[in-house]
């Protein structure tokens, strides 16, 4: 349990570094796009694609972070009224379904990226292998598994059960 907790924190720190880099990449590539097109009249062909691929990575990594931070939008209407053991069990059930889901998507994404046609796909402007962008899904869902598992186990440890939202 403690090891899992530490692993989850450690993953979160990596995610933070990735997020900072991706945000900066997005801002710089789009601004450079404007600069080169308007000021230098030499449009860049890679700026939009770089920004979009950064956004996609950022979204999935950030999605994992928001589960860790218990920051994502959820409806707390009912759970705010339930207390004690019932609350622990109900929250635990929700987390169990969530855990099953992230494991399943992780598994599906591994199968998807092992298909032989993946390597044929290249991005339209830069000709970058699409797998670089696609990898955002297995990587972030792997992180999600770690965070969700920690939340799930933690839910039963603490008396009141923690909120997901």
């Amino acid at each position: 349990m403690k090891a899992l907790h530490r692993l989850s924190d450690w993953v979160y720190n990596i995610e933070k570094v990735i997020a900072v880099i991706l945000c900066a990449a997005m801002l710089i590539s789009l601004s450079a796009g404007v600069l080169f097109r308007y000021v230098l009249s030499a449009p860049l062909t890679w700026s939009d694609e770089t920004a979009i691929f950064s956004l996609i990575w950022l979204s999935f990594i950030g999605g994992s972070m928001s589960i860790k931070r218990q920051d994502s939008a959820a409806i707390t209407l009912l759970m705010d009224k339930v207390h004690g053991k019932a609350r622990t069990i109900m929250l635990g059930a929700g987390l169990a379904v969530l855990l099953a889901f992230v494991i399943y998507i992780f598994y599906l994404s591994i199968i998807w990226l092992s298909s032989p046609t993946i390597m044929m796909q290249r991005s339209s402007s830069m000709g970058m292998p699409m797998i670089i962008a696609y990898l955002s899904i297995p990587v972030s869902f792997f992180f999600l598994i770690i965070h969700t598992l920690e939340l799930f186990l933690n839910n039963f440890k603490s008396d009141e059960g923690r909120r997901i939202a």
Binding site: L27, D48, L77, L78, M90, L98, I137
Partner: protein
Amino acid sequence: MTAALIVFIILLFLQVPIAFVLGITTIAYIILTGNMGLTATAPQRLYSGLENYGMLAVPLFMMAGELMNFGGITTRLIDFSKTLVGHFRGGLAYVNVIANMLLSAIMGSATAQIAMMSRTMVPSMEKEGYSREFGAATTAASGLLGPIIPPSMIFIIYGVASGASISDMFIGGVLPGVVLALAFIVLIGYTGSKEKWPTQERAPISLITKSFISVIPALLVPVIIIAGILSGVFTATESAAVACVVALLVGFFFYKELKIKHLPSILVNTAVTTATITMLIAMANLFGWMLSFEQVPQNIASWMVSLTESPLVFLLIVNIFLLIVGMFMDGIAALIILVPIFMPLIANYGIDPVHFGVVICINLTIGLLTPPVGAGLYIASSLADVKLETLIKSIWPFLIASFISLLIITYWPDLVLWLPTILK
């Protein structure tokens, strides 16, 4: 489909994040219908839901908001508004609306704006003798202007989902934003004279001038955005990046409040707030595919058309429907699910997609403040430390003012469409 609906509702109430509820429901639906081959395409669907250029504005407008907060732009906008309207009866309430209008010209999200202003405006209003809940209600309501006056996150998402021009949406939102602000101002004026609120001294000209000079760099941000879009320097999407750069420069070099050490936490916050929206979009893309597979949009469309032939009646029905949806659901999630259903319909009724977009976006934004599920309410109540029940009691006059404005904007499409036309 019924089983999927039950799964959906149970998970929502078990406090599973909405984004994931959409994904889980879709997978459950696929498993229940025995079409297992379909699950193989789920990860790819998640991916392609985000591979969209317009979506880039989401994180960048988030980032611009954070940069302004750290860079001291927000406080200067408030100070400036105070010197302008602080001396009227109910002065600080007006200040709240005006400062929110100015802020709205830079920020694109209501919840971000409500969070920002609840911390600063509510305590200062309380100090001047207003009740805490009235301060929180004014702040939450004025925060609605955030996504209606451009730039706007929800307009961008509508533009992406519907294909309507994002620039037209932006310009079309200006007058409706003014209508809404006027409605709040009238409401404050009426309440103020009824309850004999305090007045303050008028600020001397020297102070107004000083405050104005100090606010100029902050006002540069919206001016550069609007001028840049209109003169063809950049697109609406790129304007978000430009806004960040300008906010960075102003914060670093003019106000000197923004420091390098702030940047990591600004960027991490941007990532998480972005993901709460974009994950929703990715999952909704999966969910929407289930709906199209079941031909739900087509069925609803043909049913709707059989109900009425009048575009106005149709819009009224849509408004009532969305107000109910908005009571229970996050606006952006609802928008993503519903736009594909509405688009074939509005073509049928001959409704302009920009007018329609502005109407439904305002409607769903109001939903942020309607109980029982309203992100704006929760943020204001927790940051201003007001009980939810008391906040709801003082916010309903603002909600009524918002509904009346919404009806006006629904009835007169020109309020939305006139500005984009004359600027062409």
